[in-house]
C-alpha cells in the first residue's frame, strides 16, 4: 500500500466516522414520502415476483425442457381463486387442475404443496380453517384425477400471507386462493 492510498483510506475512514457521528434527525415530509413510495414500489416488485413464481414463470428455475416451465401449458397456472367464505372450486380452474393431476400421475416422484389462503374478512382462526378447507377441496379434485394422496401436502396460512394489500374487493379476490407449489418436480 503506497502513501497516497493510505492517506485516502484515512480520509475515507474519517469521513465515515463523521457521517456516523451525525445526530439522528426526524425525517422531512418529502423524505418520508419518498421512502414510502420506494417501499410501495419494492412491495409491488415483490408481489409480481411471487405471483410470477406461482405461475411458474420464476426466473430462478433451472431452464431445462420441463412442461412445468412452458408458459403456454396449463401447468404454468398455479393459482386457484375462490368466492368469499367459500371452498367450492369454480369450473374455470378444473382444466388446469386436471393437467397438474396428470403431470403428478406421470411423475410419481413429484410432490405438490397446496397452500390455502383467505382474505382478511373473517376472524383469524376461522380463516386458518377456511384456508385448509380450500386446499382440501383442491386436493380432492386432484386425487380424483389421478394424483396420489401421498404426492399432495395441504397447508393453510389463513389470512396471514396476503399478496394484495389494499382493502378492496380486487385485493380480497386475489388473496382468496390456493397456491400450487412444487416441492419436488419429478
Amino acid at each position: 500500500m503506497n502513501a497516497t492510498t493510505r492517506w485516502a483510506l484515512v480520509l475515507l475512514m474519517a469521513g465515515l466516522l463523521a457521517a456516523c457521528a451525525q445526530p439522528k434527525r426526524d425525517l422531512t415530509e418529502d423524505e418520508r414520502q419518498a421512502m414510502e413510495a420506494a417501499a410501495a414500489e419494492a412491495d409491488a416488485a415483490e408481489r409480481a415476483r411471487r405471483e410470477a413464481d406461482a405461475r411458474g414463470l420464476g426466473i430462478d428455475r433451472d431452464l431445462q425442457a420441463d412442461p412445468l416451465d412452458d408458459p403456454q401449458s396449463p401447468l404454468a397456472e398455479r393459482l386457484v381463486y375462490f368466492d368469499f367464505d367459500r371452498d367450492t372450486v369454480r369450473s374455470e380452474f378444473i382444466p388446469m387442475l386436471e393437467a397438474h393431476s396428470r403431470y403428478l400421475s406421470q411423475n410419481p416422484g413429484a410432490q405438490l404443496r397446496l397452500e390455502g389462503h383467505t382474505d382478511e374478512r373473517g376472524t383469524r382462526e376461522y380463516n386458518l380453517a377456511l384456508g385448509e378447507r380450500r386446499a382440501q377441496a383442491v386436493r380432492r379434485i386432484m386425487t380424483l384425477n389421478g394424483a396420489r394422496d401421498s404426492q399432495l401436502d395441504v397447508v393453510s396460512y389463513g389470512e396471514e400471507m396476503p399478496v394484495a394489500f389494499t382493502q378492496t374487493e380486487e385485493s380480497w379476490a386475489r388473496n382468496r386462493r390456493v397456491e400450487l407449489v412444487y416441492d419436488v418436480r419429478r
Binding site: 439522528k24 425525517l27 419518498a34 421512502m35 420506494a38 417501499a39 414500489e41 419494492a42 412491495d43 416488485a45 415483490e46 408481489r47 415476483r49 411471487r50 367464505d85 382478511e120 374478512r121 373473517g122 376472524t123 383469524r124 382462526e125 376461522y126 386458518l128 380453517a129 377456511l130 385448509e132 378447507r133 382440501q136 395441504v154 397447508v155 393453510s156 396460512y157 389463513g158 396471514e160 400471507m161 394489500f165 389494499t166 382493502q167
Partner: protein, 431 residues
C-alpha cells in the same frame, strides 16, 4: 432495473436504520373518544427524596394511566397549587379551586436497593383522606411501581380493581415480502417497555396468557405449518405443545391453568380438543364436519364458547364440558366469531360481521341483548382486561394494523399504534 433495485434497497435500509432502535416497537396511545363528565383528578409530582434526580416521573405515569382509562380528567401540572408536604398539611380549598375532585400526592424514598413509594389519595369535595400507602419496589422497576400505584388510586376512587399492572402480548409485523418479520411482543399496559419474546420470518398467531401470567401459548409457522408453542415469559423456555397433521390452532388456557383448549384438524376437519398439560393427553370435545375453532373458557371452567359454521355461516356456540349438545348464542349480523369472556362470566365480546365490516359486539348472557361496541371495518381479536373494564383488540387505520381499546360500555375509545409496522392480536395478561 438492477440499478433501480439497488437504490430501492439502499432506501429501505435507510428506512430500517431510522426505524430500528429502542423505541421501535413502542406503542403510542391516543384517546380518540372519551366520556364527558370524567372525574377531575389532580396528581401532584412525586418528590424524589434522595440524591440526584428521580429516575422515573412516577406522578406523570400515574396521571397518564388514569387519563388513558377515559374515566378521569387529569388536571395539567401548571394549573396545580403547591402540593402539601405530607397528609397532615392537606387543605382542600386550593385543590377545589383548581377544579379537582380527587388529589393524589406522593414521594419516593430511596433505600439501598429499592425505593419506597409513599402516596395518599384525598377526596377533595369530602375534605378527607381516602387512604395512604407505601410500596417498596426495586429501583429498576419504578415504572411497574407507578402502574401499581395507578391500580390502587383507580380502586380507591372507582371501587373497581385497576388493570394497569397487567401486561399485553401482541404480534408485530414489519417489512415486506421476504424481509417480513413477525415478532411476539410483551409490553406494559401503556405500551412502554416492549420486549421481543420471539422473532420469525414466518407468521405468528393467537397469543394467549396462562392464568398465572408466566407463560404464553401461541401458533407459530416456523416449520412452514401451524403449530402450538408454549413460551415462558421470564425464562424464555419454549416447548412445542401441538404439531399434529393438519391445523394446530387457537390455543387457550383453562382458568385452572391445567388444560388447554385448542382446534385441531388431525382427523380431517377442525374440531375442539382439550389437552391435559401434565400428561399431554387429548380429549375430543366437538365432533362435526364443520369448522369448530376459537374456543374460550367460561371463568368456572365448565364450558367452552366457540365459533362454528355448522349452521352455514360462522356463529358462536356454547358447549358444556366434557362435550354434548352445543347451544347457539349469536343470531345478529351475517357472522360471529372470536369470543372473549368477561372475567365475571356474564358477557361475551365477539367479532360481528355485517354490511359495514367486522365490529366488536357485546352479548349479555343473561338478557341476550347485543350492543355494538366499535365502528371500525376490521375490528378483530378482542381480549378483555383482567378487571373487565376495557377490551383491547386489533383494528386498521388507513391499511395499517393498530390496536384499539374500548371501555366495556363502548363509550371510551383509544388507539395504540406502533411507530413502525403493524401490530395485532393483543392479549391482556391476568393481574
Amino acid at each position: 432495473m438492477i440499478m433501480k433495485n439497488r437504490i430501492l434497497q439502499v432506501w429501505l435500509l435507510g428506512f430500517l436504520l431510522l426505524a430500528v432502535g429502542p423505541a421501535a416497537a413502542v406503542l403510542e396511545v391516543t384517546v380518540t373518544e372519551g366520556v364527558t363528565g370524567a372525574i377531575p383528578v389532580a396528581v401532584a409530582p412525586f418528590a424524589w427524596e434522595g440524591p440526584g434526580s428521580t429516575p422515573e416521573d412516577v406522578g406523570q405515569i400515574v396521571g397518564a394511566n388514569l387519563a388513558r382509562s377515559g374515566l378521569f380528567d387529569v388536571i395539567s401540572r401548571e394549573r396545580l397549587p403547591r402540593a402539601p408536604d405530607g397528609p397532615a398539611d392537606f387543605l382542600a380549598e386550593p385543590w377545589a379551586a383548581a377544579g379537582a375532585e380527587y388529589l393524589v400526592i406522593g414521594r419516593m424514598l430511596p433505600e439501598e436497593e429499592r425505593v419506597l413509594i409513599e402516596f395518599h389519595v384525598f377526596d377533595v369535595l369530602a375534605n378527607q383522606r381516602l387512604g395512604g400507602f407505601r410500596i417498596p419496589v426495586p429501583v429498576e422497576m419504578l415504572r411497574r411501581g407507578a402502574h401499581r400505584v395507578s391500580d390502587i388510586v383507580y380502586e380507591q376512587i372507582t371501587g373497581d380493581k385497576g388493570a394497569f399492572s397487567a401486561r399485553i402480548a401482541y404480534v408485530g409485523v414489519t417489512g415486506q415480502g421476504d424481509d417480513r418479520q413477525f415478532t411476539l411482543e410483551v409490553a406494559d399496559s401503556d405500551g412502554a417497555n416492549p420486549r421481543t419474546l420471539f422473532r420469525s420470518n414466518q407468521p405468528i398467531m393467537s397469543p394467549e396468557w396462562a392464568p398465572d401470567g408466566r407463560d404464553l401459548v401461541y401458533v407459530s409457522f416456523e416449520n412452514r405449518r401451524s403449530e402450538v408453542f408454549r413460551h415462558n415469559v421470564e425464562t424464555g423456555v419454549r416447548a412445542k405443545l401441538a404439531g399434529f397433521p393438519g391445523i394446530n390452532s387457537a390455543p387457550t388456557w383453562s382458568p385452572d391453568g391445567r388444560r388447554l383448549a385448542l382446534s385441531l384438524s388431525r382427523d380431517g376437519t377442525p374440531n375442539l380438543y382439550v389437552m391435559d398439560l401434565e400428561t399431554g393427553g387429548l380429549t375430543q370435545v366437538t365432533r362435526s364436519n364443520s369448522i369448530d375453532t376459537e374456543p374460550a373458557w367460561s371463568p368456572d371452567g365448565d364450558s367452552l364458547f366457540f365459533t362454528s359454521d355448522r349452521a352455514g355461516s360462522p356463529q358462536i356456540y356454547q358447549m358444556r364440558l366434557p362435550g354434548g349438545a352445543a347451544q347457539r348464542l349469536t343470531f345478529e349480523g351475517s357472522s360471529a366469531g372470536a369470543a372473549t369472556v368477561s372475567p365475571d362470566g356474564k358477557s361475551l365480546v365477539y367479532v360481528q360481521g355485517g354490511e359495514g365490516g367486522l365490529r366488536l359486539a357485546r352479548l349479555d348472557l343473561e338478557t341476550r341483548r347485543v350492543t355494538l361496541l366499535t365502528k371500525g371495518r376490521y375490528d378483530k381479536s378482542p381480549s378483555f382486561a383482567p378487571n373487565g373494564s376495557m377490551i383491547i383488540y386489533s383494528a386498521t387505520d388507513r391499511g395499517r394494523g393498530i390496536l384499539g381499546s374500548v371501555s366495556r360500555d363502548g363509550r371510551v375509545h383509544q388507539r395504540l399504534a406502533a411507530r413502525s409496522g403493524d401490530v395485532r392480536e393483543p392479549a391482556w395478561s391476568p393481574l
